[in-house]
């Protein structure tokens, strides 16, 4: 389902009818556990306002879903954690506000790994989301719920956050378009922070044009987020011809699933057929990207999660006697195992005596990785590769082995660390019918060009 199809339906009936239908469909698909809460009452009120002409805009009446780490009205903002299970946001994220200003209607809040820590939604405190194509498999994550509601055609678009692949990987696992924009293109204000230096806000859509539309609405400088850039996103109708594209061979080794490689190679052939020039390139620093990522990101998230202390809002442990006990028990009960694991890693690498050896060293290697990308982008317009080494894996398959789970992020974290735009677009299915995505990566602020290229490759 595309945004323009939904708009046609609204024109043919009413926003109220469409929103009611969408909510009914969301209930029908409850077994996927893609949504944690519906924002039904508020959604219907807004639908009536659209029908009454009180709300207008490019997305008037168009329903969407937000990942439940976005502050939004109509339902609690839980971040899929016990910590925030009953937390009602007093304000909304800038991204949500901008979409609402264009008339879009948020109908629910989607499941994620608690506090976005994970790549399967199995770390949600409220149970995992199931893959849209195979309910025995993971949805991917951490924005699994948003990917699945889009893939199931419940809504035409959904919002996610991507810190190391949390939009791109579930998009790949569920056969939808997932956009991780340039760091700073879209305001992070009002989104529960994970890692401040790599967090970005992005979208899931069924097609590239919708991603372009949604991105163009959300992009731009926000005075409430000092890291946002002035609006540079301009939809490009024409695709640049004869682009030089580098296929990252480090991501096409034998360790990568054969179906994944086959689909990426087919996509590459398609690009060639359109007259683009493909060369194999290497990204030697990619080998270290995962190590850097799992030092810097835990460090930052250990800091960003320090505010959940049971004092002012959120969960507070009962029956405690001392302040230390209040902190300890509240955080023990409010966080899932993966949260605690990452907080401990982060606290460790920031400890006096270890900071230089881990955090500072990782930042230095991060600079080398960024230099390597800069070098490549001085020669190539786009880099291409898989999104993840495999299609969606089985529920429970990796939960006992966090390292194996982390390895699944290897192809998405390099661009996150470098703050570069990367998109995941459907590239077909595996032999067993599971969706596989291909990843297009570009230099900073090349988002619109990347999307135009992806649009030109879509099978109509």
């Amino acid at each position: 389902m595309t945004i323009s199809e939904i708009k046609d339906q609204i024109k043919a009936s009413s926003a109220r009818v469409v929103v009611e239908k969408v909510i009914a469909k969301a209930r029908e698909k409850a077994e996927y556990h893609a949504l944690l809460n519906l924002t039904e009452e508020r959604a219907l009120q807004r639908a009536d306002d659209v029908d009454a002409g009180k709300i207008t805009g490019k997305l008037a009446g168009v329903p969407f879903v937000v990942k439940d780490n976005f502050l939004a009205f109509g339902a609690p903002t839980t971040a899929a954690s016990k910590m925030l299970e009953n937390f009602d946001a007093p304000l909304q994220a800038t991204a949500v506000e901008k979409l609402e200003a264009e008339g879009a209607i948020c109908i629910g809040k989607s499941n994620l790994d608690a506090f976005a820590h994970g790549g399967s939604t199995e770390n949600s405190a409220f149970g995992p989301t199931k893959n849209a194509y195979d309910t025995t498999r993971v949805s991917g994550g951490s924005s699994g719920g948003s990917a699945v509601v889009t893939a199931l055609d419940i809504v035409p678009f959904a919002l996610g956050s991507d810190t190391g692949g949390s939009i791109r990987q579930p998009a790949s696992f569920n056969g939808v378009v997932g956009v991780k924009p340039t760091y700073g293109m879209i305001s992070r204000y009002g989104v529960v922070a994970m890692a401040s230096s790599t967090d970005v806000i992005g979208s899931f859509t069924t097609n590239v044009a919708d991603a372009e539309l949604v991105s163009s609405i959300m992009a731009g400088r926000d005075d409430r987020d000092m890291t946002t850039l002035p609006d540079f996103f301009q939809i490009q109708n024409d695709v640049k011809l004869g682009q030089k594209i580098g296929l990252i061979k480090d991501f096409m080794t034998d360790g990568v699933d054969a179906d994944v490689r086959a689909r990426v190679n087919e996509y590459v052939e398609g690009l060639k057929a359109k007259g683009h020039i493909i060369e194999e390139v290497s990204l030697p620093m990619a080998e270290y990207a995962l190590a850097i990522y799992y030092i810097i990101v835990p460090a930052e998230l250990s800091s960003n999660l320090a505010r959940y202390d049971g004092i002012r809002y959120g969960h507070r442990a009962e029956g405690i006697k001392t302040l230390a006990e209040l902190y300890g028990r509240t955080r023990d009960q409010g966080f899932v195992t993966e949260n605690k694991r990452r907080i401990m890693i982060g606290s460790y690498v920031l400890s006096s005596g270890y900071f230089d050896a881990y955090y500072l060293q990782a930042q230095k290697v991060r600079t080398l990785l960024i230099n390597e990308f800069n070098e490549l982008f001085s020669k190539y317009d786009v880099l291409i590769g898989p999104v993840a080494p495999t299609p969606a894996f089985k529920l429970g398959e990796n939960t006992a082995d966090p390292i194996k789970m982390y390895l699944g992020d290897i192809m998405t974290v390099p661009t996150s660390l470098a703050g570069l735009p990367a998109i995941s677009v459907p590239a077909g299915r595996s032999e067993s019918g599971l969706p596989i995505g291909v990843q297009l990566m570009g230099p900073s602020q090349s988002d619109a060009r990347l999307l135009a290229l992806a649009r030109s490759m879509e099978v109509k």
């Binding site: 000092m226 320090a306 202390d309 606290s347």
Partner: protein, 491 residues
């Protein structure tokens, strides 16, 4: 503890001073920065509250004030400075970290020249100064505590000195001078009662001539100059006592009890926290060009050092100068005590008169005349008129003071000379007129004995004769002129 024993040791003090910046809003939010007399948690934004998803927005005004503070500290301003997070859990710290500057502070090394009463100037080097946010406040009751976040996020600069201070009075003078620098630079409102400036003093004692410093103890959260002095002195004596017993001073944080005039242990170094400092990725670096820095620093009022230079060039000594500098702060916003002097600086004689008038007449009235209220009077115009009349010998010093007091709290100033004339304060300096009175007095039999005594060399009696002349003239005669005329006649 005898003075001889104390004299064997040298005190070394370094001071960390937190200065609350005079901004309208907080360091990273738009909440009101003035928490005085506000009900608890009433000036707290979602950012200060540490709500999920909130991001800091740096208050540019705080940066400007830091740039001004840098000039006052004779420090360089960093072209690039950054914020770091200092982590610890405490209910008054909503985000679980304090946003501060560890690695790249905005203000670099500098020096404060501290004038001492004995004429010495003690140079205290500044290690650096950085921007940071304040925490909230906890109030403890029996088995519970209440949190007030009004102050959370208030912008501070922390000024860290080198250990260049070697006596309690130097510590006090340094604290006082910092206060003057920060208030003159308009960096802070300087409300000490509300903790606008708070001092932590690091004190150590070592035998004189020792090549290394002794183990230091830090006395935290002093909010008056006197407590800085007392705490340093107490701590020095306490440490000397320990050292004299052959024991070791423990490195620790101590608190000052103003009622007991004592320090007591709060936290030893063994229990020191690991703050897990890390760069704050939510706040881009502060990037400043030389042009921006000099534009802000050019637009600053005179600092105490410049005033001292100006005033001492007029011929004023230490005490009147310091009196003026103190009074400037004391009556800031009500009377511009120094600006009055500056306005007439082109005429040094007049400027000196105004300066001395402020020290000897205006300031004592402001401080202790309970009937006096500051009106709308143009004080410079009034003092200038008094200067002109005095300079022309038309006003005795006694009458000048009376005249000033009568006119100083009026809302509208009359013509001063007309007023003085009507009131009969103008003295007669017409030689012919006074000569007539002198001759009359000298011829009067009442004066005969005095005239005789004067002739015989008893100079004191001239006062009696002048008094007679003043009486006859109705107080208007210029006494100096009268005396001169008497002496001309009786040789």
């Amino acid at each position: 503890m005898t003075d001889e024993i104390l004299a064997k040791y040298e005190m070394t003090v370094g001071v960390e001073c937190h200065v609350q910046l005079a901004t309208d809003t907080k360091l990273f939010s738009g909440a009101d920065n003035d928490a005085r007399d506000k009900s608890p948690n009433s000036v707290v934004s979602p950012i200060d509250y540490g709500l999920p998803g909130m991001l800091p927005v740096l208050n540019r005004r705080a940066v400007d004030l830091a740039i001004k503070a840098g000039k006052a500290l004779n420090s360089s301003i960093a072209h690039i400075s950054r914020f770091d997070r200092k982590h610890y859990f405490y209910p008054d710290l909503p985000k679980g970290y304090q946003t501060t500057q560890l690695h790249q502070p905005i203000i670099g090394s500098g020096v404060v020249h501290v004038p001492m009463e004995d004429g010495r100037v003690v140079d205290v080097r500044i290690h650096h100064a950085h921007l940071e946010e304040d925490a909230g406040k906890l109030t403890h009751f029996g088995d519970y505590s209440l949190v007030d976040l009004n102050r959370a996020g208030t912008p501070l600069i922390e000024i860290v000195s080198e250990p260049d201070i070697h006596s309690a009075i130097e510590a006090k003078s340094y604290a006082t001078e910092l206060y003057r620098l920060m208030t003159y630079a308009e960096v802070t409102f300087g409300d000490l009662y509300h903790g606008n400036m708070r001092f932590d003093v690091n004190v150590s004692a070592a035998l004189k001539g020792a090549t290394t410093l002794g183990t230091r103890a830090e006395v935290k959260n002093l909010n008056s100059f006197r407590s800085v002095e007392r705490a340093a002195e107490y701590e020095f004596r306490r440490q000397v006592e320990i050292l004299e017993k052959g024991e070791k001073v423990v490195q620790e944080t101590r608190g000052w009890d103003d009622n007991k005039q004592k320090t007591s242990s709060q936290r030893s170094k063994e229990n020191a926290q690991d703050y897990r400092y890390m760069p704050d990725a939510d706040i881009p670096p502060i990037v400043l060009s030389d042009d921006e820095i000099s534009a802000i620093q050019a637009d600053m009022p005179r600092l105490p050092g410049e005033w001292r230079q100006i005033l001492s060039q007029l011929g004023l000594d230490y005490l009147p100068i310091e009196t003026l500098l103190d009074a400037e702060n004391e009556f800031r916003g009500k009377i511009n005590i120094l600006q009055m002097i500056e306005d007439v600086i082109a005429d040094p004689k007049k400027a000196k008169f105004i300066a001395n008038w402020n020290v000897n007449t205006l300031i004592p009235i402001l401080r202790s005349d309970t009937n006096f209220k500051i009106g709308q009077t143009d004080y410079l115009a009034l003092e200038s008129a008094i200067y002109e009349l005095s300079d022309a010998n038309k006003l005795s010093s006694t009458n000048a003071k009376i005249l000033f007091r009568e006119l100083a709290d009026l809302d509208e100033l009359p013509n001063v000379e007309t007023y003085a004339t009507e009131k009969g304060y103008i003295q007669v300096s017409d030689e012919g007129a006074i000569t007539a009175i002198v001759d009359e007095v000298l011829a009067d039999p009442i004066s005969a004995k005095a005239v005789e005594d004067l002739k015989n060399g008893n100079d004191k009696v001239i006062g009696f004769l002048v008094g007679q002349i003043m009486k006859k003239s109705g107080g208007k005669a210029n006494p100096a002129l009268a005396q001169k005329l008497i002496r001309e006649r009786i040789k």
